[in-house]
């Protein structure tokens, strides 16, 4: 018998009045997997996640979280999951340790609060008021609260939004540690790097639909099987292209033929031919890159718009 999925959703829909925020989503998250929902703001990520967390009711579809229906067995689900919400707050004058102890009291199971704070580098700050914490410390505390009940499944909704790059890295490291503990994680983000870096699999979501799903590399390959070679030269490049590029290589020039983009399935070979071609013509190369498509490109390709819009 197959191991049951930690999350299973099929045909999931959510209507707010006339507006359909989620339009039929199907996906599964396996136990121990770190799964990302990637999409721009308003794509339906948060709605989807909140339905799974038991915070919202779905309009249609089947959902199971840890084998339970979050709509019917809400408290049972809440008791076994950990959640770091996108935008929440705690009272200004609550101390870090008090917050962790308070939340620990809400669950049937809880971990050792002091050990948890140490693990999340909050021990030094255990007696600090919430209002005195930095953005990164607040986010670490949010993670601590999400882990206080030793959850089987952790939901992280935009865990690094609004944090500076250094702090974002810290949080990434902490999430990486969850993998070592074999926790199942569902992460939403609109940061490409985050998804690429942390997730085993990603679903790209746009206007309430999943437009692509798979491992980040696999998605890149599947959607855009091509890598792109970018070259910049000191003088304009010759009119006549190499013989071998007639098939399987797409090119475009810019900057008065001093900039070339060539995409192909086998970029290394294109580079060899390119260098020979330019040397023969006596044109000096100023710069050269091979760029694999990013999830950003994938998203752009699939939806025709940028994630950052």
């Amino acid at each position: 018998m197959a191991i049951p999925a930690a999350i299973h959703a099929s045909g999931l829909r959510k209507l707010y009045g006339d507006f359909e925020a989620v339009r039929g989503i199907d996906f599964e998250v396996a136990e121990g997997e770190i799964f990302g929902l990637l999409g721009p703001n308003g794509a339906g990520k948060t709605t989807t996640v909140e339905i799974l967390e038991g915070l919202r009711q779905r309009s249609a579809g089947e959902v199971s979280v840890l084998g339970c229906d979050p709509e019917k067995e809400t408290d049972a689900v809440k008791d076994r999951i950990g959640v770091a919400l996108q935008s929440t707050n705690l009272p200004d004058k609550i101390r870090v340790r008090e917050a962790a102890e308070l939340f620990a009291a809400f669950y049937t199971r809880s971990v050792d609060v002091d050990a948890l704070l140490r693990r999340l580098q909050l021990w030094e700050k255990r007696n600090a008021y919430y209002s005195t914490l930095s953005g990164g410390q607040k986010q670490r505390l949010a993670l601590a609260l999400a882990l206080v009940n030793d959850p089987e499944l952790v939901f992280l909704d935009e865990p690094t939004t609004g944090l500076d790059p250094q702090v974002r890295l810290e949080i990434h490291t902490l999430i990486g540690k969850l993998r070592e503990q074999r926790k199942t994680v569902l992460l939403t983000t609109h940061y490409i790097e985050e998804a690429e870096r942390l997730c085993d699999r990603v679903a790209i979501i746009d206007e309430g639909r999943i437009v692509a799903m798979g491992a980040p590399r696999e998605l890149q390959d599947r959607v855009l099987g091509h890598a792109r070679v970018e070259v910049k030269t000191a003088a304009p490049m010759p009119e006549e292209l190499p013989e071998a590029w007639r098939e399987g290589v797409a090119t475009s020039f810019s900057d008065g033929r001093k900039m070339l983009y060539a995409s192909a399935e086998k970029p290394a070979r294109v580079v060899v031919e390119l260098v020979k071609w330019l040397e023969a013509a006596g044109v000096e190369i100023e710069d050269l890159h091979i760029r694999r498509p990013t999830l950003e490109d994938v998203f752009l390709e699939l939806t025709g718009k940028s994630l950052r819009e």
Binding site: E53, L55, T74, D75, A76, K78, D79, V83, L85, S87, T88, N89, L90, P91, K93, I94, E98, E101, L102, F103, A105, F106, Y107, T108, L145
Partner: protein
Amino acid sequence: MRLRAYGAYIKITLKLTLRDRVVLFFNYLMPLLFFIAFGEGLGAATSSGAMSQTVSMVLMFGVLGTGFFGGGIRATMDREAGILRRFKVAPISPAPLLVASLVTGWAVFLPSVFLFLSLARWRYGWDQPLNLASLLIVTSVGVLAFRSMGLIIASVVNSMQESQIIAQLLYMPMLLLSGAAVPLHIFPEWLQKLAQFLPATHLYLGTQGILVRGETAWDNRAAVGSMLLAMAAGLVISIKLFRWEKDEKVKPAAKLWLAGIMLPFVLIGAWEVHRGGNERKMRILERQTRRSQSWLIRDARIFEGGGEWIERGAVLIRNGKIERVYRGAAPEPKEVRAEGIEAGGRTLLPALIDSGVVLMRPGAKEPPQDLESVLSGYVYWGVGAIQALPDPLGVAEQYRKKVDEGEVIGPEILPGAWVPPFSLAAAEAEAGELAILKQDLARQFFSDGYLRALAATGERRPRSPQAYAAAAARLRELWRRGELPAPSGAAGGWLGLHGPALLRELELWQKEGVPAAEILRAATALAAARAGAGARLGRVKEGYEATLLIVEGDPLEDVRSLGRIHTVLVRGERVSRGELANQNKSSGK
């Protein structure tokens, strides 16, 4: 697990509350400032009633503030700040949060009760007997009820702004119309009636009843019951309407729930208005407050009642009783926490006692409509007690209670025997001699029209010219035998002039040769003793009722000085004579 969540949440909410300076300010500091302002500036120190009122008032500030602002606005703030949202993902219901809010409100409020009681006692010498358990029960139920009203506000508003508006809309009228900040009796009658539909009025009257009248929580069970009901309803409704996130809006119709929680108070209000119970209680509380004022009457010539005179002395009055009689120099009023009455050149004596008053004419089926103004006429004229003839309907007994409690202002009503009163004033009227109608005495209290009508009746009435001479001869006879009766004006017989008739009677006694000193004794100490109240009435003596009269001049020279009244005190209450006369005249008498 569930209980653990309640415990943990209550614990943290308490901690957070105590860390919040705003809460501490509104719960302790602001009421304390009001307390001190009233205690130092507005005379609460010289009146235990005013002090009780001050305590009630600051407790009401606390209850209303904790309820509407602490409960209602706090919860809305937490929702707006996204704090509640964080709790939404935990496996808990709103119940622990709401219960914690109630418990915290209560726990933060409770010390203020002790704070203000101790201050009143130790700093201002407030010495009322106190039913602490009942006070704690009533105020605790009050704070819980108002706190849950606050939670309903939070449940039905969509923004901080809205919650501020609604909280203010409830806070201000409840503070102003409950009697806590402004005495209820100064409001027009319709507003007083309206006030009885406000939950705050029930709480205030309950608190005051306990502080001033020594009532128990059980005596205030209707108020306690309706507040408990409101608390339970509030809790249920706010759990039902609870919203964790500010994005979840509530429909405008939900605000009607707020009206729902008022229902118990509308019902109890309607019942109270119908029964008049609260209006009665308000009047009683007001009277008790007046009676509890401390006075120091200084520099008076004192007629003690039994026949002894103090040429210059002072009398300290506290809680309606004579606490101390000073011979010679007296302390400053402030030193003894009393308000001073300067009585230099005046005479202080026990208020007069009229020993034969017929409140119900024989054969009457109903008590007279104007009985209250009859009673007020006596105190106007310095008559502090009357001996009423028994009546089959028990009207005298009924009014004795009303006067004792303070619902009605009047002389103390002492039981009398079935003896037709002996009265020269009545005999004089019978003889057709109506000089009393032309005296200033009567004019002060009765309207000219009324007195003219009486004179006209006198013209038509058959006269018994011998009546007066016979009565006067009888008086002289009794005096000669040393059997002077206790005097009675008998309301001037058919004239029905309750009050001035006694003064007329004493004047006539003097005219017939009875010495002034004997007359004064007969109308005070002797009358009290004959009515069986000699141990507490009719003398200026420590422990006696502070039912006293201050007159200009020296009644020992001429008893007619008794008509030149400076001050009347009845059980410690300084009678507003002008007010009583106006009321009487405007009633057409």
